[in-house]
Symmetry: C2
Subunit: 320 residues, 2 copies
Protein backbone atom coordinates (compact mmCIF):
# COMPACT_ATOMS: atom_id res chain seq x y z
CA UNK A 1 0.00 0.00 0.00
CA UNK A 2 1.24 3.51 -0.74
CA UNK A 3 0.19 7.15 -0.82
CA UNK A 4 -1.98 6.67 -3.93
CA UNK A 5 -4.37 4.46 -1.92
CA UNK A 6 -4.75 7.24 0.61
CA UNK A 7 -5.28 9.87 -2.08
CA UNK A 8 -8.02 7.71 -3.59
CA UNK A 9 -9.61 7.23 -0.18
CA UNK A 10 -9.49 10.97 0.45
CA UNK A 11 -11.34 11.70 -2.80
CA UNK A 12 -14.15 9.48 -1.54
CA UNK A 13 -14.17 10.86 1.96
CA UNK A 14 -13.80 14.57 1.58
CA UNK A 15 -17.49 15.21 0.91
CA UNK A 16 -18.71 12.68 3.48
CA UNK A 17 -16.35 12.96 6.44
CA UNK A 18 -15.84 16.18 8.36
CA UNK A 19 -12.77 18.22 7.48
CA UNK A 20 -11.64 18.28 11.09
CA UNK A 21 -10.14 21.46 12.50
CA UNK A 22 -6.43 21.95 13.14
CA UNK A 23 -6.04 23.61 16.55
CA UNK A 24 -3.08 25.54 17.82
CA UNK A 25 -2.34 26.85 21.29
CA UNK A 26 -0.02 29.66 22.28
CA UNK A 27 0.46 27.99 25.67
CA UNK A 28 1.46 24.69 24.08
CA UNK A 29 3.78 26.30 21.55
CA UNK A 30 5.51 28.22 24.34
CA UNK A 31 5.76 25.14 26.52
CA UNK A 32 7.51 23.14 23.78
CA UNK A 33 9.23 26.07 21.96
CA UNK A 34 7.78 24.61 18.78
CA UNK A 35 4.89 25.02 16.33
CA UNK A 36 2.33 22.37 17.25
CA UNK A 37 -0.62 21.49 15.01
CA UNK A 38 -3.33 19.40 16.64
CA UNK A 39 -5.49 17.41 14.22
CA UNK A 40 -8.81 17.17 16.04
CA UNK A 41 -10.39 13.88 15.04
CA UNK A 42 -12.63 14.11 18.11
CA UNK A 43 -14.66 16.41 15.85
CA UNK A 44 -14.92 13.72 13.16
CA UNK A 45 -18.33 12.13 12.53
CA UNK A 46 -19.12 9.58 15.27
CA UNK A 47 -16.51 11.30 17.45
CA UNK A 48 -13.33 9.57 16.24
CA UNK A 49 -11.06 8.97 13.24
CA UNK A 50 -12.61 5.51 12.85
CA UNK A 51 -15.31 6.83 10.52
CA UNK A 52 -12.70 7.45 7.82
CA UNK A 53 -11.60 3.82 7.60
CA UNK A 54 -15.04 2.28 8.08
CA UNK A 55 -16.57 4.38 5.32
CA UNK A 56 -13.71 3.71 2.92
CA UNK A 57 -13.95 -0.04 3.52
CA UNK A 58 -17.72 -0.17 3.04
CA UNK A 59 -17.40 1.92 -0.12
CA UNK A 60 -14.89 -0.51 -1.58
CA UNK A 61 -17.00 -3.63 -1.07
CA UNK A 62 -18.46 -5.03 -4.26
CA UNK A 63 -22.14 -4.08 -4.67
CA UNK A 64 -23.08 -7.69 -4.00
CA UNK A 65 -21.01 -7.94 -0.81
CA UNK A 66 -22.31 -4.61 0.37
CA UNK A 67 -25.92 -5.52 -0.20
CA UNK A 68 -25.56 -8.41 2.27
CA UNK A 69 -24.64 -6.04 5.09
CA UNK A 70 -21.60 -5.64 7.35
CA UNK A 71 -20.58 -6.88 10.77
CA UNK A 72 -17.91 -6.17 13.37
CA UNK A 73 -17.21 -7.12 16.94
CA UNK A 74 -16.26 -4.03 18.88
CA UNK A 75 -17.18 -2.32 22.09
CA UNK A 76 -15.90 1.01 20.94
CA UNK A 77 -15.46 3.62 18.26
CA UNK A 78 -15.26 1.22 15.30
CA UNK A 79 -18.80 0.01 16.08
CA UNK A 80 -20.27 3.51 15.85
CA UNK A 81 -18.21 4.33 12.76
CA UNK A 82 -19.27 1.18 10.91
CA UNK A 83 -22.89 1.69 11.90
CA UNK A 84 -22.92 5.18 10.40
CA UNK A 85 -21.06 4.08 7.26
CA UNK A 86 -23.64 1.32 6.77
CA UNK A 87 -26.50 3.73 7.29
CA UNK A 88 -25.10 6.09 4.65
CA UNK A 89 -25.20 3.17 2.17
CA UNK A 90 -28.62 2.05 3.46
CA UNK A 91 -27.32 -1.42 4.29
CA UNK A 92 -27.61 -3.56 7.42
CA UNK A 93 -24.99 -3.53 10.15
CA UNK A 94 -24.58 -5.90 13.09
CA UNK A 95 -22.26 -5.09 15.95
CA UNK A 96 -21.32 -7.82 18.40
CA UNK A 97 -20.66 -6.23 21.78
CA UNK A 98 -19.50 -7.82 25.04
CA UNK A 99 -22.08 -7.82 27.82
CA UNK A 100 -19.92 -5.50 29.94
CA UNK A 101 -19.99 -2.71 27.36
CA UNK A 102 -21.18 0.61 28.71
CA UNK A 103 -24.85 1.53 28.19
CA UNK A 104 -23.69 4.70 26.49
CA UNK A 105 -21.77 2.81 23.81
CA UNK A 106 -24.55 0.29 23.18
CA UNK A 107 -26.96 3.17 22.89
CA UNK A 108 -24.66 5.04 20.48
CA UNK A 109 -24.30 2.05 18.13
CA UNK A 110 -28.09 1.64 18.07
CA UNK A 111 -28.57 5.36 17.48
CA UNK A 112 -26.44 5.09 14.34
CA UNK A 113 -28.72 2.26 13.20
CA UNK A 114 -26.76 -0.90 14.02
CA UNK A 115 -28.34 -4.07 15.31
CA UNK A 116 -26.48 -4.84 18.54
CA UNK A 117 -25.94 -8.50 19.47
CA UNK A 118 -24.61 -9.10 22.97
CA UNK A 119 -22.03 -11.80 23.76
CA UNK A 120 -19.95 -12.89 26.74
CA UNK A 121 -17.05 -10.55 27.60
CA UNK A 122 -14.31 -12.78 26.18
CA UNK A 123 -12.51 -12.51 22.86
CA UNK A 124 -13.40 -16.16 22.15
CA UNK A 125 -17.11 -15.55 22.54
CA UNK A 126 -16.95 -12.36 20.47
CA UNK A 127 -15.36 -14.28 17.61
CA UNK A 128 -17.67 -17.29 17.97
CA UNK A 129 -20.81 -15.12 18.03
CA UNK A 130 -19.62 -13.12 15.03
CA UNK A 131 -18.78 -16.24 13.01
CA UNK A 132 -22.18 -17.77 13.77
CA UNK A 133 -23.95 -14.68 12.47
CA UNK A 134 -21.78 -14.59 9.35
CA UNK A 135 -22.49 -18.30 8.69
CA UNK A 136 -26.24 -17.68 8.95
CA UNK A 137 -26.51 -14.33 7.20
CA UNK A 138 -23.53 -13.77 4.92
CA UNK A 139 -22.64 -10.43 6.47
CA UNK A 140 -19.20 -9.13 5.47
CA UNK A 141 -16.83 -8.60 8.39
CA UNK A 142 -14.99 -5.25 8.52
CA UNK A 143 -11.96 -5.63 10.78
CA UNK A 144 -11.14 -2.47 12.75
CA UNK A 145 -7.50 -2.37 11.58
CA UNK A 146 -6.28 -5.56 9.90
CA UNK A 147 -7.71 -4.33 6.60
CA UNK A 148 -6.00 -2.30 3.85
CA UNK A 149 -9.06 -0.18 3.09
CA UNK A 150 -9.54 0.71 6.74
CA UNK A 151 -5.85 1.65 6.98
CA UNK A 152 -6.04 3.80 3.84
CA UNK A 153 -9.08 5.61 5.22
CA UNK A 154 -7.34 6.18 8.56
CA UNK A 155 -4.43 7.77 6.69
CA UNK A 156 -6.63 10.52 5.27
CA UNK A 157 -6.54 12.43 8.55
CA UNK A 158 -2.85 13.24 8.34
CA UNK A 159 -3.21 13.70 4.58
CA UNK A 160 -5.70 16.47 5.29
CA UNK A 161 -3.44 17.92 8.01
CA UNK A 162 -0.36 18.11 5.77
CA UNK A 163 -2.44 19.48 2.93
CA UNK A 164 -3.36 22.34 5.28
CA UNK A 165 -0.13 23.05 7.18
CA UNK A 166 2.29 21.93 4.42
CA UNK A 167 5.60 21.30 6.21
CA UNK A 168 5.97 19.11 9.29
CA UNK A 169 9.11 17.74 10.92
CA UNK A 170 7.31 15.29 13.24
CA UNK A 171 3.98 13.54 13.47
CA UNK A 172 2.85 12.00 16.78
CA UNK A 173 0.25 9.24 16.54
CA UNK A 174 -1.29 6.79 19.06
CA UNK A 175 -0.90 3.03 18.60
CA UNK A 176 -3.61 0.50 19.45
CA UNK A 177 -4.10 -2.19 16.81
CA UNK A 178 -1.86 -0.13 14.56
CA UNK A 179 -4.33 0.83 11.85
CA UNK A 180 -4.15 4.56 12.46
CA UNK A 181 -0.36 4.73 12.60
CA UNK A 182 -0.10 2.49 9.53
CA UNK A 183 -2.23 4.82 7.43
CA UNK A 184 -0.69 7.90 9.04
CA UNK A 185 2.90 6.82 8.44
CA UNK A 186 2.26 5.82 4.81
CA UNK A 187 0.54 9.13 4.07
CA UNK A 188 3.03 11.27 5.98
CA UNK A 189 6.17 9.68 4.50
CA UNK A 190 4.56 9.67 1.06
CA UNK A 191 4.00 13.42 1.26
CA UNK A 192 7.03 14.44 3.32
CA UNK A 193 9.84 11.86 2.97
CA UNK A 194 11.89 13.43 5.80
CA UNK A 195 9.13 13.53 8.41
CA UNK A 196 9.74 11.55 11.61
CA UNK A 197 6.82 9.37 12.67
CA UNK A 198 6.58 8.92 16.44
CA UNK A 199 4.18 6.31 17.78
CA UNK A 200 2.85 6.71 21.31
CA UNK A 201 1.53 3.83 23.38
CA UNK A 202 0.34 3.39 26.97
CA UNK A 203 2.91 1.67 29.19
CA UNK A 204 0.12 -0.69 30.23
CA UNK A 205 -0.47 -1.80 26.62
CA UNK A 206 3.07 -1.77 25.25
CA UNK A 207 2.82 -4.55 22.65
CA UNK A 208 3.88 -2.31 19.78
CA UNK A 209 6.88 -1.05 21.76
CA UNK A 210 7.95 -4.59 22.64
CA UNK A 211 7.40 -5.79 19.08
CA UNK A 212 9.21 -2.79 17.61
CA UNK A 213 12.25 -3.13 19.90
CA UNK A 214 12.55 -6.92 19.73
CA UNK A 215 11.62 -7.25 16.06
CA UNK A 216 9.10 -9.98 16.95
CA UNK A 217 5.32 -9.60 17.14
CA UNK A 218 4.42 -9.66 20.88
CA UNK A 219 0.69 -9.46 21.67
CA UNK A 220 -0.73 -7.63 24.71
CA UNK A 221 -1.71 -9.70 27.65
CA UNK A 222 -4.87 -8.43 29.35
CA UNK A 223 -4.58 -4.75 30.02
CA UNK A 224 -6.75 -2.24 31.78
CA UNK A 225 -5.19 0.97 30.53
CA UNK A 226 -7.49 3.97 30.80
CA UNK A 227 -6.94 4.38 27.04
CA UNK A 228 -9.57 1.76 26.22
CA UNK A 229 -9.22 2.26 22.46
CA UNK A 230 -5.58 1.12 22.61
CA UNK A 231 -5.95 -2.19 24.45
CA UNK A 232 -5.83 -4.22 21.22
CA UNK A 233 -2.66 -5.78 19.80
CA UNK A 234 -0.91 -5.26 16.46
CA UNK A 235 -1.63 -7.63 13.58
CA UNK A 236 1.17 -8.96 11.35
CA UNK A 237 0.07 -6.44 8.71
CA UNK A 238 0.24 -3.38 10.94
CA UNK A 239 3.46 -4.61 12.60
CA UNK A 240 5.14 -4.87 9.19
CA UNK A 241 4.10 -1.32 8.27
CA UNK A 242 5.25 0.02 11.64
CA UNK A 243 8.67 -1.66 11.32
CA UNK A 244 9.06 -0.09 7.90
CA UNK A 245 7.80 3.43 8.62
CA UNK A 246 7.87 4.36 12.28
CA UNK A 247 10.95 6.14 13.63
CA UNK A 248 10.37 5.72 17.35
CA UNK A 249 7.80 4.62 19.90
CA UNK A 250 7.30 6.51 23.18
CA UNK A 251 5.54 4.98 26.20
CA UNK A 252 3.30 7.03 28.50
CA UNK A 253 1.93 6.39 31.97
CA UNK A 254 -1.73 6.52 32.95
CA UNK A 255 -1.12 9.80 34.77
CA UNK A 256 0.55 11.30 31.69
CA UNK A 257 -2.50 10.34 29.59
CA UNK A 258 -4.92 11.98 32.02
CA UNK A 259 -2.62 15.02 32.22
CA UNK A 260 -2.75 15.48 28.44
CA UNK A 261 -6.53 15.02 28.38
CA UNK A 262 -6.85 17.62 31.09
CA UNK A 263 -4.49 20.05 29.35
CA UNK A 264 -6.74 20.00 26.28
CA UNK A 265 -9.99 20.31 28.25
CA UNK A 266 -8.71 23.25 30.27
CA UNK A 267 -6.55 25.11 27.79
CA UNK A 268 -8.35 24.40 24.53
CA UNK A 269 -11.88 23.71 25.83
CA UNK A 270 -12.50 20.54 23.93
CA UNK A 271 -13.20 16.99 24.96
CA UNK A 272 -10.80 14.10 24.29
CA UNK A 273 -11.13 10.51 25.37
CA UNK A 274 -8.02 9.01 27.01
CA UNK A 275 -6.94 7.24 23.79
CA UNK A 276 -7.37 10.54 21.97
CA UNK A 277 -4.90 12.27 24.29
CA UNK A 278 -2.15 9.64 24.22
CA UNK A 279 -0.24 11.20 21.31
CA UNK A 280 -0.16 14.57 23.07
CA UNK A 281 1.00 12.86 26.26
CA UNK A 282 3.92 11.49 24.25
CA UNK A 283 4.81 14.97 23.04
CA UNK A 284 4.42 16.61 26.47
CA UNK A 285 6.60 13.96 28.10
CA UNK A 286 9.60 15.45 26.30
CA UNK A 287 11.26 12.17 25.29
CA UNK A 288 11.60 13.58 21.76
CA UNK A 289 13.29 16.99 21.41
CA UNK A 290 11.05 19.08 19.12
CA UNK A 291 12.49 22.53 19.91
CA UNK A 292 12.09 24.85 16.93
CA UNK A 293 10.29 22.18 14.91
CA UNK A 294 6.87 21.93 13.25
CA UNK A 295 4.98 19.09 14.89
CA UNK A 296 1.68 17.43 13.98
CA UNK A 297 -0.29 15.54 16.65
CA UNK A 298 -3.22 13.26 15.87
CA UNK A 299 -5.90 13.59 18.56
CA UNK A 300 -7.84 10.49 17.62
CA UNK A 301 -11.21 10.76 19.37
CA UNK A 302 -13.51 12.27 21.98
CA UNK A 303 -15.96 9.58 23.03
CA UNK A 304 -15.62 9.63 26.79
CA UNK A 305 -18.43 8.46 29.05
CA UNK A 306 -19.47 11.52 31.03
CA UNK A 307 -22.28 9.87 33.00
CA UNK A 308 -20.33 9.76 36.26
CA UNK A 309 -19.02 13.28 35.87
CA UNK A 310 -22.39 14.90 35.32
CA UNK A 311 -24.03 12.91 38.11
CA UNK A 312 -21.35 14.02 40.52
CA UNK A 313 -21.44 17.54 39.14
CA UNK A 314 -25.13 17.84 39.84
CA UNK A 315 -24.93 16.34 43.32
CA UNK A 316 -21.96 18.51 44.31
CA UNK A 317 -23.07 21.80 42.86
CA UNK A 318 -26.84 21.88 42.55
CA UNK A 319 -28.82 22.88 45.53
CA UNK A 320 -31.96 23.96 43.65
CA UNK B 1 -25.13 53.53 22.40
CA UNK B 2 -25.79 52.07 18.96
CA UNK B 3 -24.35 49.73 16.35
CA UNK B 4 -21.60 52.19 15.37
CA UNK B 5 -19.97 51.73 18.81
CA UNK B 6 -19.89 48.01 18.23
CA UNK B 7 -18.49 48.39 14.72
CA UNK B 8 -15.74 50.58 16.13
CA UNK B 9 -15.01 48.04 18.87
CA UNK B 10 -14.88 45.24 16.32
CA UNK B 11 -12.26 47.08 14.26
CA UNK B 12 -10.09 47.19 17.36
CA UNK B 13 -10.72 43.61 18.36
CA UNK B 14 -10.57 41.63 15.18
CA UNK B 15 -6.80 41.33 15.11
CA UNK B 16 -6.47 40.78 18.86
CA UNK B 17 -9.41 38.58 19.86
CA UNK B 18 -10.01 35.14 18.41
CA UNK B 19 -12.57 34.92 15.61
CA UNK B 20 -14.49 32.21 17.45
CA UNK B 21 -15.92 29.31 15.46
CA UNK B 22 -19.61 28.94 14.65
CA UNK B 23 -20.59 25.31 15.29
CA UNK B 24 -23.56 23.47 13.88
CA UNK B 25 -24.90 20.05 14.77
CA UNK B 26 -27.09 17.79 12.65
CA UNK B 27 -28.52 16.27 15.83
CA UNK B 28 -29.45 19.68 17.23
CA UNK B 29 -30.97 20.90 13.96
CA UNK B 30 -33.07 17.74 13.74
CA UNK B 31 -34.13 18.01 17.36
CA UNK B 32 -35.41 21.56 16.90
CA UNK B 33 -36.35 21.37 13.17
CA UNK B 34 -34.37 24.56 12.73
CA UNK B 35 -30.97 25.86 11.63
CA UNK B 36 -28.98 26.51 14.79
CA UNK B 37 -25.71 28.46 14.81
CA UNK B 38 -23.68 28.19 17.99
CA UNK B 39 -21.25 31.05 18.59
CA UNK B 40 -18.48 29.42 20.60
CA UNK B 41 -17.07 32.07 22.92
CA UNK B 42 -15.59 29.29 25.04
CA UNK B 43 -12.85 29.36 22.39
CA UNK B 44 -12.28 33.09 22.95
CA UNK B 45 -9.00 34.17 24.56
CA UNK B 46 -9.14 33.57 28.35
CA UNK B 47 -11.99 31.12 27.71
CA UNK B 48 -14.96 33.49 27.61
CA UNK B 49 -16.53 36.45 25.78
CA UNK B 50 -15.28 38.73 28.58
CA UNK B 51 -12.01 39.39 26.79
CA UNK B 52 -13.85 41.39 24.13
CA UNK B 53 -15.25 43.94 26.57
CA UNK B 54 -12.19 44.14 28.81
CA UNK B 55 -9.85 44.77 25.89
CA UNK B 56 -12.13 47.40 24.35
CA UNK B 57 -12.44 49.23 27.67
CA UNK B 58 -8.68 49.25 28.33
CA UNK B 59 -8.05 50.41 24.77
CA UNK B 60 -10.40 53.37 25.21
CA UNK B 61 -8.80 54.67 28.40
CA UNK B 62 -6.78 57.82 27.95
CA UNK B 63 -3.04 57.14 27.79
CA UNK B 64 -2.69 58.76 31.21
CA UNK B 65 -5.44 56.68 32.82
CA UNK B 66 -4.10 53.54 31.22
CA UNK B 67 -0.56 54.16 32.39
CA UNK B 68 -1.78 54.10 36.02
CA UNK B 69 -3.09 50.53 35.62
CA UNK B 70 -6.51 48.91 35.98
CA UNK B 71 -8.40 47.14 38.75
CA UNK B 72 -11.52 45.00 39.12
CA UNK B 73 -13.11 42.91 41.82
CA UNK B 74 -14.15 39.61 40.36
CA UNK B 75 -13.83 35.94 41.15
CA UNK B 76 -14.47 34.89 37.59
CA UNK B 77 -14.00 35.41 33.89
CA UNK B 78 -13.75 39.20 33.96
CA UNK B 79 -10.64 38.94 36.14
CA UNK B 80 -8.79 36.77 33.62
CA UNK B 81 -9.99 38.89 30.70
CA UNK B 82 -8.87 42.15 32.28
CA UNK B 83 -5.54 40.64 33.30
CA UNK B 84 -4.78 39.62 29.71
CA UNK B 85 -5.98 42.95 28.28
CA UNK B 86 -3.67 44.75 30.73
CA UNK B 87 -0.76 42.51 29.82
CA UNK B 88 -1.26 43.24 26.11
CA UNK B 89 -0.90 46.97 26.92
CA UNK B 90 1.99 46.28 29.31
CA UNK B 91 0.19 47.95 32.20
CA UNK B 92 -0.49 46.85 35.77
CA UNK B 93 -3.65 45.02 36.77
CA UNK B 94 -4.96 44.28 40.25
CA UNK B 95 -7.79 41.83 40.81
CA UNK B 96 -9.55 41.75 44.16
CA UNK B 97 -10.81 38.22 44.79
CA UNK B 98 -12.83 36.83 47.69
CA UNK B 99 -10.99 34.38 49.93
CA UNK B 100 -13.33 31.55 48.91
CA UNK B 101 -12.36 31.81 45.22
CA UNK B 102 -11.17 28.55 43.73
CA UNK B 103 -7.44 27.94 43.52
CA UNK B 104 -7.81 27.42 39.80
CA UNK B 105 -9.25 30.89 39.24
CA UNK B 106 -6.69 32.62 41.45
CA UNK B 107 -3.97 30.77 39.57
CA UNK B 108 -5.46 31.74 36.19
CA UNK B 109 -5.58 35.46 37.04
CA UNK B 110 -1.93 35.30 38.18
CA UNK B 111 -0.95 33.38 35.04
CA UNK B 112 -2.31 36.22 32.92
CA UNK B 113 -0.15 38.60 34.93
CA UNK B 114 -2.55 40.17 37.43
CA UNK B 115 -1.65 40.98 41.02
CA UNK B 116 -4.28 39.19 43.10
CA UNK B 117 -5.40 40.80 46.36
CA UNK B 118 -7.57 38.63 48.60
CA UNK B 119 -10.53 40.00 50.56
CA UNK B 120 -13.35 38.63 52.70
CA UNK B 121 -16.08 36.86 50.75
CA UNK B 122 -18.64 39.66 51.02
CA UNK B 123 -19.59 42.28 48.45
CA UNK B 124 -18.95 45.00 51.05
CA UNK B 125 -15.38 43.87 51.65
CA UNK B 126 -14.72 43.50 47.92
CA UNK B 127 -15.80 47.09 47.35
CA UNK B 128 -13.97 48.43 50.42
CA UNK B 129 -10.73 46.67 49.47
CA UNK B 130 -10.98 47.86 45.87
CA UNK B 131 -11.63 51.47 46.91
CA UNK B 132 -8.69 51.44 49.30
CA UNK B 133 -6.36 50.30 46.55
CA UNK B 134 -7.72 52.92 44.14
CA UNK B 135 -7.27 55.65 46.76
CA UNK B 136 -3.64 54.63 47.29
CA UNK B 137 -2.62 53.86 43.72
CA UNK B 138 -4.93 55.63 41.27
CA UNK B 139 -5.78 52.42 39.41
CA UNK B 140 -8.76 52.80 37.04
CA UNK B 141 -11.67 50.47 37.81
CA UNK B 142 -13.13 48.53 34.89
CA UNK B 143 -16.61 47.35 35.86
CA UNK B 144 -17.54 43.96 34.37
CA UNK B 145 -20.77 45.20 32.77
CA UNK B 146 -21.90 48.65 33.97
CA UNK B 147 -19.63 50.28 31.40
CA UNK B 148 -20.44 51.33 27.82
CA UNK B 149 -17.08 50.24 26.41
CA UNK B 150 -17.36 46.80 27.99
CA UNK B 151 -20.89 46.46 26.57
CA UNK B 152 -19.76 47.53 23.09
CA UNK B 153 -16.94 44.95 23.19
CA UNK B 154 -19.33 42.22 24.34
CA UNK B 155 -21.56 43.02 21.33
CA UNK B 156 -18.80 42.16 18.88
CA UNK B 157 -19.44 38.43 19.31
CA UNK B 158 -22.88 38.52 17.73
CA UNK B 159 -21.62 41.08 15.23
CA UNK B 160 -19.08 38.51 14.06
CA UNK B 161 -21.74 35.77 14.05
CA UNK B 162 -24.19 37.73 11.88
CA UNK B 163 -21.38 38.83 9.62
CA UNK B 164 -20.71 35.13 8.99
CA UNK B 165 -24.21 33.57 8.84
CA UNK B 166 -26.02 36.70 7.53
CA UNK B 167 -29.73 36.09 8.31
CA UNK B 168 -31.02 35.12 11.77
CA UNK B 169 -34.58 35.07 13.10
CA UNK B 170 -33.62 34.62 16.76
CA UNK B 171 -30.63 35.14 19.00
CA UNK B 172 -30.46 33.42 22.42
CA UNK B 173 -28.19 35.03 24.99
CA UNK B 174 -27.55 34.44 28.71
CA UNK B 175 -28.23 37.18 31.27
CA UNK B 176 -26.07 37.80 34.35
CA UNK B 177 -25.28 41.45 34.98
CA UNK B 178 -26.71 42.18 31.55
CA UNK B 179 -23.58 43.38 29.75
CA UNK B 180 -23.50 40.60 27.17
CA UNK B 181 -27.17 40.82 26.28
CA UNK B 182 -26.97 44.62 26.14
CA UNK B 183 -24.18 44.54 23.56
CA UNK B 184 -25.70 41.56 21.79
CA UNK B 185 -29.15 43.12 21.44
CA UNK B 186 -27.80 46.47 20.23
CA UNK B 187 -25.61 44.77 17.62
CA UNK B 188 -28.23 42.25 16.53
CA UNK B 189 -31.10 44.73 16.17
CA UNK B 190 -28.76 47.22 14.51
CA UNK B 191 -27.85 44.66 11.85
CA UNK B 192 -31.17 42.77 11.60
CA UNK B 193 -34.05 44.97 12.77
CA UNK B 194 -36.53 42.05 12.76
CA UNK B 195 -34.45 39.65 14.85
CA UNK B 196 -35.99 38.48 18.13
CA UNK B 197 -33.63 38.69 21.12
CA UNK B 198 -34.34 36.03 23.74
CA UNK B 199 -32.60 36.37 27.10
CA UNK B 200 -32.09 33.23 29.18
CA UNK B 201 -31.59 33.28 32.93
CA UNK B 202 -31.31 30.65 35.67
CA UNK B 203 -34.51 30.30 37.74
CA UNK B 204 -32.29 30.64 40.80
CA UNK B 205 -30.99 34.06 39.66
CA UNK B 206 -34.10 35.51 38.03
CA UNK B 207 -33.57 39.22 38.69
CA UNK B 208 -33.68 40.17 35.01
CA UNK B 209 -36.90 38.19 34.54
CA UNK B 210 -38.53 39.86 37.55
CA UNK B 211 -37.28 43.30 36.50
CA UNK B 212 -38.40 42.76 32.89
CA UNK B 213 -41.90 41.56 33.82
CA UNK B 214 -42.56 44.10 36.59
CA UNK B 215 -40.84 47.05 34.88
CA UNK B 216 -38.90 47.74 38.10
CA UNK B 217 -35.25 46.92 38.78
CA UNK B 218 -35.24 43.99 41.24
CA UNK B 219 -31.80 42.80 42.40
CA UNK B 220 -30.94 39.14 43.11
CA UNK B 221 -30.87 38.07 46.67
CA UNK B 222 -28.07 35.59 47.40
CA UNK B 223 -28.11 32.78 44.90
CA UNK B 224 -26.16 29.61 44.48
CA UNK B 225 -27.04 28.76 40.89
CA UNK B 226 -24.56 26.42 39.26
CA UNK B 227 -24.18 29.13 36.58
CA UNK B 228 -21.74 31.11 38.71
CA UNK B 229 -21.17 33.73 36.02
CA UNK B 230 -24.83 34.75 36.18
CA UNK B 231 -25.25 35.34 39.92
CA UNK B 232 -24.82 39.13 39.53
CA UNK B 233 -27.72 41.57 39.18
CA UNK B 234 -28.58 44.04 36.42
CA UNK B 235 -27.49 47.65 36.71
CA UNK B 236 -29.81 50.53 35.79
CA UNK B 237 -27.87 50.87 32.52
CA UNK B 238 -28.23 47.24 31.43
CA UNK B 239 -31.85 47.11 32.63
CA UNK B 240 -32.74 50.10 30.44
CA UNK B 241 -31.14 48.48 27.38
CA UNK B 242 -32.89 45.15 28.09
CA UNK B 243 -36.29 46.85 28.42
CA UNK B 244 -35.73 48.56 25.09
CA UNK B 245 -34.30 45.65 23.09
CA UNK B 246 -35.10 42.23 24.51
CA UNK B 247 -38.21 40.44 23.25
CA UNK B 248 -38.56 37.77 25.89
CA UNK B 249 -36.76 36.19 28.86
CA UNK B 250 -36.83 32.42 29.43
CA UNK B 251 -36.00 30.84 32.81
CA UNK B 252 -34.14 27.53 33.08
CA UNK B 253 -33.69 25.08 35.95
CA UNK B 254 -30.35 23.83 37.25
CA UNK B 255 -31.01 20.44 35.65
CA UNK B 256 -31.75 22.08 32.29
CA UNK B 257 -28.44 23.95 32.49
CA UNK B 258 -26.48 20.76 33.20
CA UNK B 259 -28.41 18.96 30.45
CA UNK B 260 -27.37 21.59 27.88
CA UNK B 261 -23.76 21.48 29.05
CA UNK B 262 -23.78 17.72 28.72
CA UNK B 263 -25.39 17.82 25.27
CA UNK B 264 -22.53 19.97 24.00
CA UNK B 265 -19.80 17.88 25.66
CA UNK B 266 -21.19 14.63 24.30
CA UNK B 267 -22.52 15.62 20.90
CA UNK B 268 -20.10 18.37 19.94
CA UNK B 269 -17.06 17.42 22.04
CA UNK B 270 -16.36 20.79 23.49
CA UNK B 271 -16.30 22.13 27.01
CA UNK B 272 -18.76 24.72 28.30
CA UNK B 273 -19.09 26.11 31.79
CA UNK B 274 -22.63 26.14 33.23
CA UNK B 275 -23.13 29.85 32.45
CA UNK B 276 -21.95 29.16 28.91
CA UNK B 277 -24.68 26.56 28.39
CA UNK B 278 -27.61 28.58 29.77
CA UNK B 279 -28.62 30.07 26.40
CA UNK B 280 -28.73 26.61 24.82
CA UNK B 281 -30.77 25.35 27.78
CA UNK B 282 -33.29 28.08 26.99
CA UNK B 283 -33.50 26.95 23.37
CA UNK B 284 -33.72 23.23 24.23
CA UNK B 285 -36.49 23.88 26.75
CA UNK B 286 -38.81 24.69 23.84
CA UNK B 287 -40.55 27.70 25.42
CA UNK B 288 -39.92 29.60 22.16
CA UNK B 289 -41.12 27.94 18.94
CA UNK B 290 -38.20 28.12 16.48
CA UNK B 291 -39.41 25.53 13.94
CA UNK B 292 -38.10 26.34 10.47
CA UNK B 293 -36.16 29.35 11.76
CA UNK B 294 -32.51 30.40 11.74
CA UNK B 295 -31.35 30.69 15.33
CA UNK B 296 -28.12 32.04 16.81
CA UNK B 297 -27.04 30.93 20.30
CA UNK B 298 -24.25 32.63 22.26
CA UNK B 299 -22.24 30.04 24.20
CA UNK B 300 -20.49 32.48 26.47
CA UNK B 301 -17.61 30.57 28.07
CA UNK B 302 -15.84 27.36 28.97
CA UNK B 303 -13.98 27.96 32.23
CA UNK B 304 -15.18 25.05 34.32
CA UNK B 305 -13.12 23.72 37.22
CA UNK B 306 -12.24 20.15 36.28
CA UNK B 307 -10.17 19.37 39.38
CA UNK B 308 -12.78 17.12 40.94
CA UNK B 309 -13.56 15.36 37.68
CA UNK B 310 -10.01 14.41 36.88
CA UNK B 311 -9.27 13.33 40.45
CA UNK B 312 -12.29 11.06 40.40
CA UNK B 313 -11.50 9.92 36.88
CA UNK B 314 -8.06 8.80 37.92
CA UNK B 315 -9.19 7.05 41.08
CA UNK B 316 -12.04 5.25 39.30
CA UNK B 317 -10.24 4.20 36.17
CA UNK B 318 -6.52 4.05 36.79
CA UNK B 319 -5.11 0.93 38.20
CA UNK B 320 -1.54 1.44 36.98
Amino acid sequence: MDITHIEEAYKRLKEIANVTPVSTSKALNELKSASIYLKCENFQRTGSFKFRGAYNAVFLLSPKERARGVIAHSSGNHAQALALAARLFSISCVVVMPSNSSEVKIHAAREYGAEVVMCKPTLEDRIRTTEEIIANSGYKIIHPYDNDDVIAGAGTGVYELIDEVKELDYIFCPIGGGGLISGTSIAAKGMLPNIKVIGVEPKLANDAYLSFTTGKLVPNVNTDTIADGLRTSLSQKTFDIIRENVDDIVLVSEEEIVGAMRFIWEELKFVLEPSGAVSLAGLLKGAVDVKGKRVGVILSGGNVDLEGFFKKYISDKCIG
